[in-house]
């Protein structure tokens, strides 16, 4: 059996390299290596790359997708997918703008917006569980509908409303020297990451994703868990939407277009398999997010035409899926 033993190997390789490799898996290890390489490369060739100001730009450029990627990780581990997140983002931004226009107090506006998003997630899960529609199809249809509703309700225009100042803090304010969205993301990533790894309820997702039939036999309530993760995914997408509206002091129904693709790519890069559920970690997703942010930022800094972005992202996704499967088959072949 393939066990890289470290008990007798006292060299540097044995004590640091291999345990690290084993702990995080081949894919994540390679990803870190690539990130360091690209990072190093960029620092050499692009002035000001290695500066706090640029770091902030780099992170903020992808932060909203990053938040959604946390929820998407869970959904994909469970064997499903949620293509509606980008639409929920845009729709939530529009919604909260409308609530503020109607002079709702902040707490109420937020509560209502999140409630609506949760309902969208609920509907996605219902179609998956009860109607047995494949989540990909269900969330694809939902994406079209929600985008359409956002367009219709906003009449195709941006919704500028008077956002209360305290609300603007969410997107524009700073905490501990960092923009609030970044702080929020860090907190969410840590919380969700810890829960996923250590909490019994969250651990179920691995069983469900690997073999839902066996999971049911073990007494796991598969259906109710699916409701939970789709609602979580929508709520996180809503969070991103609200933050976006706050950041730009404006709500446009074009927020988040095509972001579902970037989110899925980040998650897949992190080692979560789309083809077979039951694998994936928040840590991996965070690595994927970092990678995607760097790629995005590299475009901006190097002055490359931003329109190349979609080509690159698409290709990265294809390659990433391929690699995940390749590594997965490699690992099973090693035994």
């Amino acid at each position: 059996m393939s066990d890289i033993s470290t008990t007798t190997d006292r060299s540097l390789r044995g004590r640091i390299f291999f345990p690290l490799l084993r702990a995080m898996g081949i894919q994540n290890f390679c990803l870190i290596a690539i990130i360091i390489l690209v990072f190093g490369g960029m620092s050499l060739f692009v002035a000001n790359f290695f500066s706090p100001a640029n770091f902030e730009v780099l992170v903020m450029g992808f932060i909203f997708e990053a938040i959604m990627a946390l929820g998407m990780t869970l959904v994909i581990i469970s064997g499903g997918i949620d293509l509606s997140v980008s639409a929920v983002l845009g729709f939530s931004a529009i919604m909260i703008a409308f609530f503020f226009k109607a002079r709702f107090p902040i707490a109420l506006a937020l509560a209502c917006t999140f409630l609506i998003a949760a309902c969208i997630g609920l509907f996605n899960a219902w179609m998956t569980n009860t109607l047995r529609v494949h989540p990909f199809i269900a969330t694809l249809a939902m994406m079209l509908t929600i985008r359409g509703l956002a367009l219709a309700i906003s009449n195709g225009e941006n919704v500028t409303s008077d956002f209360p100042n305290q609300f603007l803090f969410l997107g524009q304010g700073r905490l501990f020297g960092l923009p609030f969205p970044i702080v929020l993301f860090i907190v969410l990533a840590i919380v969700i990451g810890v829960l996923l790894k250590h909490h019994r309820y969250f651990q179920q997702v691995y069983f469900i994703g690997d073999n839902s039939r066996a999971a049911r036999l073990s007494g796991i309530r598969v259906e109710s868990f699916i409701y939970f993760i789709f609602m979580l995914s929508s709520i996180l997408a809503c969070t991103s939407g609200v933050l976006t509206a706050s950041l730009y002091d404006n709500a446009s129904n074009s927020y988040g277009i095509n972001s579902e693709l970037r989110v899925i790519t980040a998650v897949v890069l992190g080692g979560t398999s789309i083809v077979k559920g039951g694998t994936g970690t928040i840590f991996g997703t965070v690595l994927g997010i970092i990678f995607m942010s760097i790629v995005y930022n590299a475009f901006v800094m190097a002055g490359i035409n931003p329109y190349y972005e979609t080509i690159v992202i698409g290709s990265i996704l294809l390659i990433a899926v391929f690699l995940v499967e390749f590594f997965r088959k490699l690992e099973t072949r090693i035994q």
Binding site: G314, L318, F322
Partner: protein, 328 residues
């Protein structure tokens, strides 16, 4: 379902198509919607201008819904059609602006859409990657390429004779109508009567049985994706001709409308069924409902939402129908 028993002529096929329950109920619904709108908003609805608006809009959707039907029959999906449409329009426009002759520009533009289809087809049939991932990725590559090439601008200033493609008339109706009708009829007949394309039903119903029955499933699948992208390409030529420009944002969400129409027309996400006639009726139905919504509501911004809701309903009804039939 494969119809290997051929009706004797095009007309017979048409009537045989009607007698099947799904198409006839669609006809009824369309007819009902038509009557309803004629009663409520007759003066606007029944105007020539309104009709022209509807029919021009659906020429593009009809083509892509037909292509999508073929792919769905094969148990696949093509999310890239909207992006391929945009890319083709951009490339054709660029060539025209560079002075390349119209026939050559059109040919190269269509070649480019075939290229996208080939990429899709290859990855799905040979590399065995899931169709939705492949076409999702190709969608973003195509959209991105269109953006890069056009830098996001409208590519106008196309030669006047180019716009004649969509403006030119024959017995009073614009040429595109005839081309679309021709393509739909040909595709419908080929799907029913030409062995090669008809095999798509076998492949989509049960790919393993198809291979074990000696059918070249890979080739049929490849061609299916070629057809889908080609449809998007033809739509792009008409759209860029009509609007006199190439634009990287053309075809946004066109793939979803195509899927909705195809599914309403009887295609299933699990392959093996679908009909061009049904998809055509689906497109018409969605168009009438959207138009009705706009007329009743006054806001064109509801079109997309309506398409989405229709798609959701179609998907849900399809799922329920399949569960009842026991086909999981």
């Amino acid at each position: 379902m494969a119809n290997t028993g051929r009706a004797q002529s095009g007309a017979r096929t048409f009537f045989k198509g009607i007698s099947r329950s799904r198409e006839s109920s669609l006809f009824l619904i369309i007819f009902a919607a038509f009557l309803l709108l004629a009663l409520l908003k007759g003066n606007i609805f029944l105007s020539l201008k309104n009709f022209e608006g509807i029919t021009t809009g659906i020429t593009y959707d009809l083509l892509m819904a037909a292509g999508m039907t073929v792919v769905l029959i094969l148990w696949g999906i093509d999310l890239s059609v909207g992006a391929v449409l945009a890319l083709t329009s951009v490339i054709t426009a660029m060539l025209l602006r560079a002075g390349v002759s119209i026939p050559l520009s059109v040919a190269l533009g269509l070649l480019c859409s075939l290229g996208a289809g080939a990429l899709n087809g290859f990855c799905v049939s040979r590399l065995k990657i899931a169709p939705f991932i492949v076409t999702l990725a190709v969608m973003s590559v195509a959209r991105g390429t269109a953006l890069v090439l056009s830098s996001g601008y409208f590519l106008s200033g196309l030669p006047e004779s180019y716009t004649h493609i969509s403006e030119g008339t024959f017995i009073g109706l614009p040429i595109p109508y005839f081309v679309v009708l021709f393509v739909l009829v040909v595709l419908h007949l080929l799907l029913k009567n030409w062995k090669f394309l008809n095999q798509a039903f076998y492949v989509g119903t049960n790919p393993q049985s198809a291979v074990l029955s000696g059918i070249n499933a890979n080739l049929v699948t490849f061609v299916g994706y070629l057809i889908s992208s080609l449809m998007a390409g033809i739509a792009a030529i008409f759209m860029s001709s009509k609007l006199a420009m190439g634009f990287s944002q053309f075809g946004q969400l066109a793939e979803l409308r195509a899927i909705a129409a195809a599914v309403i027309g009887g295609a299933s996400f699990t392959g093996g069924s679908g009909s061009i006639l049904g998809a055509t009726l689906g497109v018409i139905l969605i168009a009438i409902i959207s138009n009705g919504f706009v007329l009743l509501n006054g806001s064109p911004n509801w079109q997309q939402a309506v398409s989405g809701i229709i798609l959701l309903v179609a998907v849900g009804v399809d799922a329920i129908r399949r569960r009842r039939e026991g086909r999981e």
